[in-house]
């Protein structure tokens, strides 16, 4: 019996490694099956997107499907110069501005709410479930309600008032949930240490909590920006007369059947990738700097 367990121990991963699979020697067949599944999933995830990026670089003869007809930037020029595709440039500007405003508000409010939820307080459950409700409620219904509310109050719906609020009802729950995940790794003893050293409440927040949680705050900003920049259902009834970019894309899917639709997809995805890259890059940078500080 003991020989069997000793033999087994050799094939079991030591506690420090993650996998149940033996860390040396042959992998079980399930590894190969699941690795195949994973590869197929990633392929299905990125494959279609890559197709439209490629197809957006066709020349004037281009269509919506392969094979590729020529190579040019024709459809990108078309996108920003043609009137029939709508006001792409204007909606682009608005979406970026709106996303920046939403990001700032989301970061500040999520951070404060994260601090608040660290301790139980009377009525915290109400706030929590209000947030979950805002997350799962159908966006179009909320958007309509907001639109009707503005109408009833005699206010004009516009992208920087009603749409801003409607988008915050979507980005804030995500921001606060990310903040929860980040806060759960924060040791409250660090607060106590700061108080013991004579720091005020605000000094503790500004000089201890914010720097420690910096990577998480960047993650909240990433969620705020991208969720706002791509938000569609809640903006539809609240943006007023001027479109945001996703609304522009939506009207294009209904009436434009040229690769300029794909070109717009390429442009907007490049913006998203720049934002994602900058966010993840700065998180890595912060962690690295910390690693060096800890060593040195």
């Amino acid at each position: 019996m003991s020989a069997v367990t000793a033999d087994m121990r050799d094939t079991i991963a030591p506690p420090s490694t993650k996998a149940i699979a033996p860390s040396k020697g042959n992998r079980p067949w399930t590894f190969y099956a699941l690795a195949t599944l994973f590869a197929l999933y990633v392929l299905a995830l990125y494959g279609p997107m890559i197709c439209i990026y490629i197809l957006s670089f066709q020349d004037i003869r281009g269509g919506l499907v392969f094979p590729m007809k020529g190579q040019s930037l024709h459809w990108f020029v078309d996108l920003f110069t043609q009137v029939r595709t709508g006001d792409v440039k204007g909606s682009f500007d608005r979406s970026i501005k709106l996303a920046v405003i939403v990001t700032i508000i989301t970061v500040v409010i999520s951070f404060l709410a994260g601090l608040g939820f660290r301790k139980r307080f009377w009525g915290d459950g109400v706030v929590f479930y209000m947030m979950i409700g805002s997350l799962v409620a159908p966006g179009l219904v909320l958007g309509l309600g907001t639109g009707l509310l503005f109408q009833a109050l005699g206010l004009n719906a516009s992208w920087y008032t009603s749409a801003l609020g409607a988008q915050l009802s979507w980005t804030l729950p995500f921001g606060v949930l990310v903040m929860f995940a980040v806060m759960s790794r924060y040791n409250r003893a660090w607060d106590e240490a700061a108080y013991d050293l004579g720091a005020s409440r605000w000094q503790t927040i500004w000089l201890v909590i914010v720097p420690v949680l910096a990577p998480g705050i960047v993650a909240v900003a990433l969620f705020g920006f991208t969720l706002s920049y791509d938000e569609f259902a809640r903006s539809l009834q609240t943006a007023g007369s001027l479109n945001t970019l996703p609304l522009e894309i939506w009207s294009m899917t209904l009436n434009v059947t040229s690769p300029s639709l794909y070109a717009l997809g390429t442009v907007t995805t490049i913006i998203s990738f720049i934002v994602i890259g900058a966010s993840l890059g700065s998180i890595v940078l912060i962690q690295k700097r910390r690693g060096r500080a800890a060593e040195g």
């Binding site: 994973f38 439209i52 392969f66 139980r120 979950i132 179009l140 219904v141 309509l144």
Partner: protein
């Protein structure tokens, strides 16, 4: 009862501090989530002149009309069909992708990298990701081209795009990430020693899966289910675009109602849908303490 967890025992000072921290969040959620929901609820009882004007009053006419219409049942059946199919596929794919990343990838840094690879598309536009299926699934798309070239089919398949199949593909493509993230989180928390102990005790890989991994991933599965179900049930644009107008769901009918200014009918159907959604979500919440799951 743990005394520390009971909100009734918190001091007035802690209550005040807590509410101060979450007050900005509440100040956004009340006007942009609670108020719009109440407006929609109120509008469902109003009468309409058919031109978008609402007459305040109290009539159940809209509810009677909706509950008597055969269309309502059809819409709900279609919505439930899409929801169940999407849920099954996202759960299977999401569970095994998470399982692969947590238990089969030996290098933790690689696991995090692959996890990020799965999440990046979440931060890009949903509409663009949806239309990116056109070059693949279309009548002259890549899949038809490949199948024709291989001689599997003689006529291009028409069911690939603008069909229920396309709707489900687009949903699974967009929403699997909502399963992967929470399930990955729960699985990553499973103590590897537990699995080693199970192996020592002679458990097979299937037993480990059935008796340890699945039960301990339950909360992640529940969270993912809430996300997927509420998004599919609240969606209208995937159904509208990917079915080519051939299928409808509850919210896409709502969208059409709003388009022709039938606000009371739309509002009544939204209230009905919200009730169904609340029932489903609270049923799921009975199996998992979402708040403890998220905050701890």
């Amino acid at each position: 009862m743990q005394p520390s967890a009971s909100p009734a025992q918190t001091s007035p000072r802690a209550n005040l501090a807590g509410w101060l921290y979450v007050s900005p969040l509440v100040l956004v959620l009340v006007p942009f989530f609670v108020a719009p929901i109440l407006v929609v609820l109120a509008a469902s009882f109003f009468a309409t002149d058919g031109f978008g004007g609402l007459t305040p009053g109290f009539t159940l006419a809209s509810y009677v009309e909706i509950l008597h219409s055969a269309l309502t049942l059809k819409l709900y059946l279609a919505t439930i069909k899409f929801t169940v199919l999407t849920w099954v596929f996202t759960l299977i794919i999401g569970f095994f992708v998470a399982y692969f990343l947590v238990f089969h990838v030996r290098n933790q840094l690689l696991a995090i990298g692959l996890f990020l690879l799965c999440t990046v598309p979440f931060w890009t536009s949903n509409i663009i990701r949806m239309i990116s299926w056109i070059p693949l699934l279309g009548k002259e798309g890549l899949i038809n081209q490949a199948l024709l070239a291989l001689g599997v089919i003689r006529q291009p398949l028409e069911v690939l795009l603008f069909s229920d199949l396309a709707v489900v593909i687009a949903y699974v493509h967009q929403l699997t990430i909502f399963m992967i993230v929470p399930i990955f989180n729960s699985m990553a928390r499973i103590d590897k020693k537990l699995i080693e102990a199970a192996i020592d005790a002679g458990a097979s890989r299937f037993d480990i899966m059935r008796l340890i991994v699945v039960p301990m991933s339950k909360s992640g599965i529940a969270l993912g289910t809430i996300f997927v179900v509420s998004i599919v049930m609240g969606d209208f644009f995937v159904v509208k675009v990917m079915s080519g107008g051939g299928s409808a769901s509850v919210v896409s009918a709502f969208y059409e109602d709003v388009g022709v200014l039938q606000y009371p009918n739309a509002a009544a159907s939204a209230v009905l849908l919200t009730l169904v959604l609340v029932a489903i979500v609270s049923l799921i919440l009975r199996t998992v303490d979402i708040r403890r799951e998220i905050t701890s």
